[in-house]
Point group: C2
Chain length 199, copies 2
DNA sequence: TTATGTTTTGACCATCCGGTCAAAGCTACG
DNA sequence: CGTAGCTTTGACCGGATGGTCAAAACATAA
């Protein structure tokens, strides 16, 4: 019994979510205001609340749709491919996410910084996937196909480095004094990972 | 003509700064409230404002004292020491900061995520130090004493990885399902850096 | 055109927020 | 002890904030 969305609904809901992403990713949940989001979406505040019942609902929806995007690169890591190329491919896909979806990256960072209070439900799923892939990587290490390393800290390394280019964007650009650090970042990451992983 | 601080002043100012660090590092500047800070410090809100003229002032003072602590490990990197050991030493000191001052790390992360609006004045100093050390590292690379790598991205790598263990603490602990990831993190980082830097 | 459902808005509300102030309480020292 | 200066607080203020509501404006299709 779901009613189909009208064109106007589709457009406005999308505008609100995009505006919410802008504001939440910069100021966090508590620091963001509905007026800010409404203005960024080009709507009045009551109109915004006609499409979403509450501030929390907007945030929740953003977080939910974020998570599947975010875990996708890890899911795509092929357990039976070449270990080093698979890990490298994963890292590159993750870096591409940072380049193409920096707001989503910052939203995630903000949520974790605040102790992930609105992510509690999804954490088990994340955990399961990570454990599964860590086991695979551990198998590669045990088989001598990559260096003997802790798979969890390897994943942390990739997460940390890729998130950094999105979340600390301001600092990165200030230090480099120029735009688009991503091409070099990819090169650097490949160098680092190949050497770290070599058996 | 500075008046000396009484014991009470010293104690309360410290309590306020510590409470402010707790709250600001979790919720960011806008998300933090004076009532929250006052309660965490065990004071009433007007009493808090007797010691600090405004919310902004507390935040500013925290940021300022953070920055010198934060850059210290990089400053201590010895230009004429053994390249690999110097870089490794720097990374380890930085990781120790994440372990011992996670709230400061998160405060910094929050500030950068929001676009560093209250860090503008200090950015040039940071930049100067980073440029200087990057030149040194670049010299080591050019001389073949370490691998040929981009010094800036090497610094980003160290920052990203060390910050991660403090800022994403919740996620790290959730994934590992246990406390204190730091000993293994140090081991992993050393493995990774030695291989990445080897000429 | 008219009737029906959708979308937008101005006015409003209770609560929270950063901050003020005058008065009360307390401490240290002569 | 007394008192001068330091500390604490309750009451309060103007503005922001999340959210409501009824009515107006608009779109759509018979």
């Amino acid at each position: 019994m779901k009613k189909p969305e009208t064109r106007i609904q589709k457009k406005n809901r999308a505008a609100i979510l995009s505006a919410g992403l802008d504001v939440f990713s910069q100021f966090g949940f508590r620091g963001a205001t509905l007026d800010q989001i409404a203005e960024a979406a080009g709507l009045s505040k009551p109109n915004l609340l006609y499409y979403f019942p509450s501030k929390e609902e907007i945030h929740q929806q953003l977080l939910t749709s974020l998570l599947s995007t975010w875990l996708d690169p890890l899911r795509k890591m092929n357990d039976s491919g070449d270990p080093i190329e698979e890990i490298l491919g994963y890292a590159k896909r993750k870096l591409a996410l940072s380049r193409d979806f920096p707001r989503e990256s910052r939203l995630f960072a903000n949520e974790i910084l605040q102790g992930a209070p609105r992510l509690g439900d999804s954490m088990p799923a994340l955990n399961a996937l990570v454990d599964k892939k860590a086991t695979v990587i551990n198998g590669w290490a045990k088989a001598g196909r990559i260096a003997a390393i802790d798979p969890y800290h390897l994943l942390f390394l990739i997460w940390a480095q890729t998130q950094h280019y999105a979340d600390f964007d301001v600092q990165v650009r200030a230090v480099l004094g120029r735009d688009d650090p991503f091409p070099e970042a990819a090169t650097f990451m490949e160098h680092m990972l190949r050497r770290t992983l070599a058996p």
